[in-house]
């Protein structure tokens, strides 16, 4: 006799999932498959386009983090033309990027990941969303969230020309600078962002860390994986989102490798499975051993948590303090508990806000010298930034006119495809046992595993059109379908 299990779809992540769960004779989980169902083909159709369009075209890979693609593309294009943008240009780009980080992390914590904690995993569905959060924490705080996002978007617009899909980065710098007035305005907004960062961490303290159940949940085994961690660092091995080298630490927190963008292909490879459109990146130096964690598996993770694990500290004081509190609370680096990612994310938010203020305080950011005209013949370039959802790599080759002949992209969430699959399977195994009647809150806890990565399949599916419908199919040992649950959002 086969049990019918109803499961609600994974939502509130910027993308959808298609999960196949197979049960064995005992009705335990035998295997799960997490599939990405679509392919968009940017690598193909960007070929033939002029390279200076990449910051505009690749924006459209992901409307959630277009700024990340805009920056990675701009940096790759700089390298293609062998041009080093003037200091003002670099500062402007990073400033835009910091403002974006604040809005993006805020969006995730309050609208996507946050509700699990603010409302609690077992809160009624209708309330487990941003409106619910606002209702619970109060309109005044809701207003703060909205104000913070607004501030970030205003900066993105001032420097990037548009709120979504910025348009000002070109090989050698930007098409425009900012005025001194704008700088002051941006500085003020930055100060507000810092407050907001501190406030958000306090909220996390009170609601989450103050609640033992949540802390246990975070520290519980369901949400733990021992993998390698990746993140970009500056010359002091402090987290940096815009520029630097990519550092990877092993499950014990020891540096495994630190590579410059141009060497990415020597360190990262992508594994292909026939049952999904998306590829599985892994550490070349370790090799692909399948969906397993541990030191011998090339599977790595690139998330806010990973970035903290991969760095020796934060480059700004307030964030550094939180960084230390984070590890002392959770028992030292590296932290393997995925749910801690939400906390790490807030620490990054604070860092971004502080960096925002730093940059906006330097008058040179409003200087007139925001572009260097490229003079060299274009050839090849790699641009890497830390997207909120993981290390983002753009690699271009062009002909002598700067028209693309080769494009390769390894995108934020993609880095985490393997670990996400593992987390889902682990959660499923923990939850679906011998005919358990699966409850909605319990399933939301599966989703929480998923959601901690803040997976963005707009990004991951850069190679895919849009979002993944979630389809959970549960089958018995004979392969008969016990139930198919389709969710097209």
């Amino acid at each position: 006799m086969t049990q019918r299990i109803t499961i609600d779809p994974i939502t509130r992540l910027e993308g959808h999932g298609k999960i196949e769960i197979f049960l064995d004779k005992e009705g335990d989980v035998a295997n799960t498959y997490f599939q990405i169902p679509e392919l968009r083909g940017f690598e193909r159709f960007c070929v033939g386009r002029p390279v200076e369009e990449m910051p505009l075209l690749t924006n459209r890979i992901c409307g959630v983090c277009p700024e990340a693609h805009h920056m990675a593309a701009a940096k790759a294009a700089d390298m293609v033309y062998h041009v080093d943008p003037p200091r003002t240009a670099k500062m402007l780009r990073e400033l835009l990027y910091m403002a974006f980080y604040v809005t993006d992390h805020a969006t995730h914590f309050y609208a996507l990941g946050g509700p699990d904690f603010v409302m609690g995993p077992d809160a009624p569905v209708a309330e487990r969303n941003i409106l619910g959060v606002i209702h619970k924490v109060g309109l005044e705080i809701g207003g703060k969230v909205i104000a913070a996002r607004k501030a970030g978007h205003n900066v993105v617009e001032m420097i990037g020309g548009r709120k979504v899909h910025p348009c000002t980065s070109i090989p050698g710098g930007l098409t425009k600078g900012i005025t001194e007035e704008q700088r002051k305005e941006i500085l003020e907004m930055g100060k507000f962002a810092v407050e907001f960062g501190q406030f958000s961490l306090k909220l996390f303290n009170d609601i989450v860390l103050g609640n033992k159940a949540y802390v246990d949940l975070i520290l519980g085994d369901i949400y733990t994986h021992r993998t390698y961690y990746m993140g970009m660092v500056d010359e002091n091995n402090h987290t940096n989102f815009y520029d630097g080298k990519v550092r990877v630490v092993d499950p014990d927190g020891k540096e495994f490798v630190k590579y410059a963008p141009k060497d990415y292909a020597a360190n990262i490879a992508e594994h292909v499975e026939p049952w999904t459109y998306l590829k599985f990146p892994y550490l070349k130096g370790v090799g692909w051993k399948g969906f397993v964690d541990g030191k011998d598996s090339g599977v790595y993770c690139a998330t806010p948590l990973s970035r903290l694990n991969a760095a020796d500290g934060m480059a700004t004081p307030l964030a550094q303090a939180e960084y230390e509190r984070f590890y002392s609370t959770l028992g030292g680096r590296p932290v393997h508990q995925r749910l801690a990612t939400h906390w790490a994310r807030l620490i990054e938010l604070l860092y971004a806000a502080e960096r925002w203020v730093e940059l906006a305080s330097d008058p040179e950011v409003a200087g007139p010298n925001f572009h260097t005209v490229p003079t060299e013949t274009p050839t090849e370039g790699v641009g890497i930034v830390e997207a909120p959802r993981g290390t983002l790599t753009h690699h271009y080759t062009t002909d002598e006119r700067g028209v693309l002949t080769k494009v390769n992209l390894i995108v934020g969430t993609t880095n985490n495809y393997a670990p996400i699959s593992m987390s889902i399977e682990k959660a499923a195994r923990a939850l679906i046992k011998k005919g358990t009647v699966v409850t909605e809150p319990m399933l939301n806890m599966v989703e929480m595993a998923f959601r901690s990565y803040d997976p963005c399949f707009g990004c991951a599916t850069h190679s895919l059109p849009g979002k993944m419908p979630l389809e959970v199919t549960i089958r018995d040992a004979d392969g008969n379908t016990v139930d198919v649950l389709k969710q097209y959002c």
Partner: protein, 334 residues
Amino acid sequence: MSDKPKFAMYWAASCGGCEIAVLNIHEKILDVDANFDVVFWPVAMDAKYKDVEAMEDGSILLTLFNGGIRNDENEHIAKLLRRKSKILVAFGSCANEGCIPGLANLSSTNEIFDTYYETVSTDNPAHIRPQYRYQMPEGEIQIPVMYPVLKTLDQVVDVDYYMPGCPPESHQIAAVIDLVVQVLQGKAELPPKGTVIGAGGSTVCDECNRKRNVKTITSFKRIFGQPIDPELCLLEQGIPCNGIATRSGCNARCPTAGAQCIGCYGPAEGVVDYGARLITGFASVIESKDPDQIDAILDGIPDPTGQFYRFNLAGSLLKAGKPAWKRNGGNGNK
């Protein structure tokens, strides 16, 4: 359930920028909450697909549909929402004209696979390609079938209104929400079916403050190749700015920011083929009567096809629908 009119927003093959643009109306989002019962909005709230199926046809008042139609699942839900919605709005460039992902219509499915699964960083000695149906030890699993071309929403279902932009500008979204709210309160009328909403009736130049003269083009230049005069029309500086043919409504954001318009708002009112308008606009004012010289000048546009159809390819005369479908590996008789 409240008796407020029902609102839904869905993303098919899109980047999510449209959702963000909607979130970016900031306080206005509370108006949506106040005036609508949001029944379906994947990015912002939990939702049950089966609930949507269970709804009466036409019971959703307003659905903003963004994203293009890349596979059978996209088309399936497009049809479902069409059935359930009184007003279906093609929201954003993807749903309107295919947007950047529509550039995929230049290549066949296999060409896309052969590129993506063989990149420099890909470890694929067996040249594995995704299988729509695949036999695992535990049983067969499937992934949706990718269409040979990306289609626009009105190529698969009947569309009531079109709202262009990549993404639509937040102030335009806010304006449309105001309008709908006013209609709900009986203070305003809905525009006729098929109307383009949340945009202007002219082209970007209409909102662009750059100085303009009688146009003649002696050469085309790349945006990064030289200093740009911040005052003068970009096209007159030789920068192939698409503003002349692109629908107004964005406040000429890109030209104002010193970047050429790339055309995300699509064709102006009543235009049949967006690219054709640009071709004729650019070509008509080339300053030469000599074929060779004309060619030399046109060499300044390294990628005419991308230049003229960047956002519009899936909605263009030549690359839309059946023929391209066939050419890209689909069965032309479909």
